[in-house]
Amino acid sequence: MRGDQINLQNIIARSASMAPSPQERSGGVEKVAKLIDVSKCIGCKACQVACSEWNDLRDDVGECYGVYTNPMDLSPNTFQLMRFNEYEDEQGNLEWLIRKDNCMHCAEPGCLKACPAPGAIVQYANGIVDFNEEHCIGCGYCVAGCPFNIPRISKKDAKAYKCTLCSDRVYHGLEPACAKTCPTGAIMFGTKEDMLEQGAMRTDYLKDRGYKNAGIYDPAGVGGTHVIYVLQHADKPEIYNNLPSDPRISPLTEAWKGVTKPLMSAVIGLSALAGFFHYAIKGPKEEPEDDPDPEKADADRALDEKSPTQALQDADEEGRE
């Protein structure tokens, strides 16, 4: 396994880690992207099968729920899923919109931000956001952090799983299994630059064919993604089985994990320090018997010997004084 450890040089962000990633000598790595051209997709699920085959995943044989989508949801054994939607536009024209749902590999990953386990989620210099189950503690924060509802926690080992963009294949110079197998070329893989160019070409093509609102889905709210879509109706991403129209890391996640995280930690540390310095400056509230003033201390010691009646009488006297 050691031999397969990816060079730390190529990790640009890791969850819950203060250590800076090496910044120098990282120029050689190009950002990659997977382009999913929904307008070319026939929903054959080859990608879904190839993904499971490559990643040694076998979900349960489920049942038919009355739709073509199957399994019904992503799971620790289903990293990606074809979601089918029979969409009728205002004119009543039917379109069968089929979207491959999988991790978007955000440039600013919400999961990574939310993850408390050092190194359980990493972002490689090529843009892939990968889960490292070895370090995962199963807290599920990535689920809350993800703007696309992707990670799933295994019931078997309580660890988080999701599409790796076949980081193992990409590291060895291959394309992801889904991209390789795609029969119609609806899934393509290359540098993000090339994929954006290809996407732009396809967008023009679709516009020529009457899809006025064709466009690329590369949402800026998460800093762009390394899985991008070409949509016939980019103005309405939600018709593609609820693809979020403006995904971003939830403000709640920011409030939880953003600046408050170090701030709270600092306040906690400072409050402990403040106590220490208060003690150093003002000193303790000594036991009355330990009063530096020997008279007072003696009086207090004497008080302890008194009976309650006497004590009360003394108190009354003090009060009268």
Binding site: S39, C44, W96, P183
Partner: protein, 820 residues
């Protein structure tokens, strides 16, 4: 494919997968190419991108092909001839045909016999008692030299052009709307798109599959499509043709090798019982040209036949015993197809049956009848890599297979075989490419290759016949068996055997030696009728030559950039990739357009990106036709006597139709259904009517599954785990069915239960003023395998076949649907 051969000369896919990307328009009809052949469909998407091609999907349902189509139309199942006939009418009446092509490369100018006619839905010569035609009038007029008379002006009232025009004049756009259920505006738009490819340098390709074949008029539907492609001048050109997308990985190979009741390898035909005379048998099949100078390649039939006999019988086959002609079994029926065989089995006339990787209980119509028939056998042998349903037809699986084992006396043997990953050999894809593959691992347990099982049986029979004697052992005892390992002949040796070799030194006409004794042949041009060559399958000659295994070639270079990769594997015939490619050039030998360059005349010979499907030194001036297998050298609009129902395709309703009568012939009860179809009385009694079973059903495959195999594969079972039926929203509302409900679908022959997929993708159609609902039933799932067990779809289907091929009518029948 029985509709193509009568039109073009060969029954195979005309073009090939990568070539689809050269099309300007793709018509996916009678098939759901995206789902059934996703990887082949890539080249449709390439055409869209590369040529800005459009894709039209015509299907009873909005399918996954429809999801990426530019134009999506829903048609009533089984009415394709009406749509295509209407298109022919439209093209002829608006004169949007490729004139130069049609005149030079088709039979439009040929003159048909005076006796030929068509009246009220029937052609001349019909015998209603036998449901057959006397086809003697379905022929040409001949001149004194035996050649067909022609009128190049096309004015003769009985020239094919005029007859065709007249025949399809009844197929108006209103008729199409009424019968097919497609609004006439949509019909017109599709026709206009198609008509644009009538120009010389634009092509449409047609992709079809079982959606055309599995009808009682299947072969005629295909023929209509082929005729459209002749009219538009789209056959033989890159990006054109009629592409039969075959189902199984080697169904093309098995058909080429003649594993059908009436065939011998290479599309040669078994003799009928009347053909007692060898010379007569050859003469009938060695078809001579009907126009001067044409190729009519079947004229060399005897060479192919004798070489086969030498491959099978070796020295036992000699000229003086007519190359063992008498040893061949002779036919009485035109076909001993599966419907016929199971009818006889059901009547108790069969003793034994072998299923080699074939699952008839799941695949044949009327499962309950199939099951009863199998129970009447004495022995059944199933050779298969998988535990299939057929091998357990005797076992009770509750409602899914409700039988009483103790009452079934069939002795069943289940023999484990290897699968593709565990043997060497070649398979033929739909585009006729013979591709070699290699063994990667040993089979599980004791599983054996089929070859070794067959050899084992043969050797035991040979021993018994030698020891005990018995019925006519000659062919069994004399079968050539020159294999290094007689118990398990190697794939290489068998491939060389079907390729063919010289049995003596062979000389050309100048007495130069062409092949020495024992050497492998280069191509079928070397075959001899005198017994000096042997060849197990003449069209495969050239697959394994002295240069080695051509099927294993892996050079994917594409020097012309149009996807012809001639160095990859090997295609029959002669490594030609596009059939009839002479037609890709004008009569003068120049390409129709710069985009459509394929083969052309360079002044000395035919050259180009493909191997010419033509005598390569025959100059354009000789005027030889491009359809070299046809006796006239041209493409057939007029099918002559080759089809059972008539020379021109005519629409007849499915045997179970949701409407009453045939709207084209409302007054002739004989012309409602295919008049030439063979229906057994028992099967006819099991047909339902629209009164009891009001919905038109069609069966199909899903892209996630392959027949009944992948329900044994976990990955595929995960993707589509359970049997379902597709019901349109409006019918579902009518019946109170919701997505995910369990429904019972029944026909006259039985019922199945499945989950309802309620969809917007199936819409009710308006047919002759009545609303017709269609129901979609995938064929997959059975009572074996790792997917959820389910009912076999073929419980519902009727046992009636196409009149030419007996392909069962799986695509159009009647059902009722109830919520349970």
């Amino acid at each position: 494919m029985a509709g193509l051969a009568p039109t073009y000369g060969r029954g195979a896919m005309t073009n090939h997968w990568v070539d689809i990307s050269n099309a300007n328009l793709v018509l996916s009809m009678g098939g759901n190419s995206a789902e059934a052949h996703p990887v082949g469909f890539r080249w449709v998407m390439e055409a869209k991108e590369k040529n800005n091609a459009k894709l039209i999907s015509i299907d009873p349902r909005y399918t996954r092909t429809g999801a990426v189509a530019d134009y999506e139309v829903n048609i009533r199942t089984g009415t394709d001839i009406v749509f295509l006939g209407g298109l022919i009418n439209f093209l002829l009446e608006t004169d949007q045909i490729q004139h130069e092509y049609v005149r030079a490369y088709t039979d439009v100018s040929l003159i048909v016999k005076e006796e030929f006619g068509f009246h009220d839905g029937l052609f001349t010569g019909y015998n209603p008692d036998e449901n057959t035609y006397d086809k003697s009038s379905w022929s040409y007029e001949f001149d004194d030299q035996g050649y067909v008379k022609r009128d190049d002006t096309l004015q003769h009232p009985r020239c094919v052009y005029q007859l065709m025009r007249q025949h399809y004049s009844r197929y108006t756009i209103d008729m199409v709307e009424n019968v097919c259920g497609i609004p006439s505006q949509n019909v017109q738009e599709v026709w206009n798109m198609i008509a644009e490819t009538a120009v010389p340098d634009k092509t449409m390709t047609i992709l079809y599959a079982l959606g055309w074949t599995q009808h009682s008029i299947g072969a005629q539907i295909i023929r209509t499509g082929a005729m459209v492609q002749l009219l538009l001048g789209n056959t033989g050109l890159p990006g054109g043709g009629v592409n039969a997308l075959r189902g199984h990985s080697n169904i093309q190979g098995l058909t080429d090798l003649g594993l059908l009741s009436n065939l011998l390898p290479g599309y040669m035909r078994l003799p009928s019982a009347e053909e007692q005379d060898y010379q007569g048998y050859i003469k009938k099949r060695a078809k001579q040209p009907l126009l001067p100078g044409e190729v009519s390649y079947w004229k060399f039939y005897e060479r192919f036949h004798v070489s086969l006999m030498k491959a099978w019988y070796g020295d036992a086959a000699q000229a003086d015993n007519n190359w063992c002609y008498d040893w061949l079994p002779k036919l009485t029926e035109p076909l001993y197809d599966v419907i016929y065989t199971f009818e006889r089995m059901h009547k108790g006339k069969l003793t034994g049956y072998f299923c080699q990787g074939f699952n008839p209980l799941a695949s044949f119509p009327d499962k309950n009848k199939t099951s009863e028939a199998l129970a009447k056998l004495k022995y059944l042998v199933v050779m298969d890599p998988l535990a299939v349903e057929t091998a357990e037809f005797w076992k009770n699986y509750g409602e899914l297979n409700d039988v009483d084992s103790s009452q079934i006396q069939t002795e069943v043997f289940r023999l484990p075989t290897t699968c593709f990953a565990e043997d060497d050999g070649s398979i033929v894809n739909s585009a006729r490419w013979l591709q070699w593959h290699w063994k990667a691992a040993p089979p599980p347990g004791e599983a054996r290759p089929d070859v070794s099982i067959m050899a084992g049986l043969l050797h035991r029979l040979q021993r018994m016949y030698r020891e005990e004697g018995g019925a006519f052992p000659d062919p069994i005892l004399n079968l050539t068996w020159q294999y290094s390992n007689p118990e398990d002949p190697g794939a290489e040796e068998l491939a060389m055997e079907y390729n063919g070799r010289a049995l003596t030194d062979i000389y050309d006409s100048n007495r130069n030696i062409r092949r020495r004794k024992g050497e492998l042949l280069d191509d079928f041009g070397m075959l001899q009728a005198d017994g000096s060559t042997s060849c197990g399958c003449w069209i495969y000659a050239g697959a394994w030559t002295e240069d080695g295994n051509q099927m294993a070639r892996r050079d994917n270079a594409d020097p012309f950039g149009i996807g012809m990769t001639l160095g990859w594997a090997w295609a029959w015939p002669m490594n030609r990739r596009i059939l009839y490619n002479r037609a890709a050039a004008r009569p003068d030998g120049t390409p129709w357009g710069p985009e459509k360059r394929l083969v052309w005349w360079n002044g000395h010979r035919w050259v180009g990106a493909d191997i010419p499907d033509f005598p390569d030194a025959s100059p354009p001036s000789a005027g030889v036709g491009p359809f070299i297998m046809n006796q006239e050298g041209v493409g057939h609009f007029f099918g002559g006597s080759m089809m059972m129902e008539g020379p021109f395709p005519e629409h007849y309703e499915p045997f179970e139709s949701p409407i009453v009568g045939n709207p084209l012939h409302p007054n002739n009860p004989q012309a409602v259904n295919n008049p030439a179809a063979r229906v057994f009385p028992d099967d006819r009694a099991r047909f339902g009517t629209a009164k009891e079973f009001p919905y038109a059903a069609t069966t199909y495959r899903l892209t996630e599954h392959f027949h009944f195999w992948t329900t044994h594969a976990k990955l595929n079972s995960i993707m589509q785990p359970q049997k379902f039926v597709e019901i349109g929203e409006s019918l579902a509302n009518e019946l109170g069915i919701k997505e995910g409900n369990k429904v019972r679908v029944s026909s006259k022959r039985g019922y199945i239960e499945a989950v309802a997929v309620v969809t917007k993708r199936i819409k009710p159609l308006q047919i002759t003023g009545q609303t017709v609902h269609q129901v979609g039933i995938p064929i997959h799932w059975g009572f074996k395998g790792v997917a959820k067990h389910g009912f076999l779809t073929n419980t519902l289907t009727p046992a009636v076949g196409d009149a030419n091929t007996q392909t069962p009518e799986f695509k159009s029948f009647l059902v009722n649907v109830e919520k349970i």
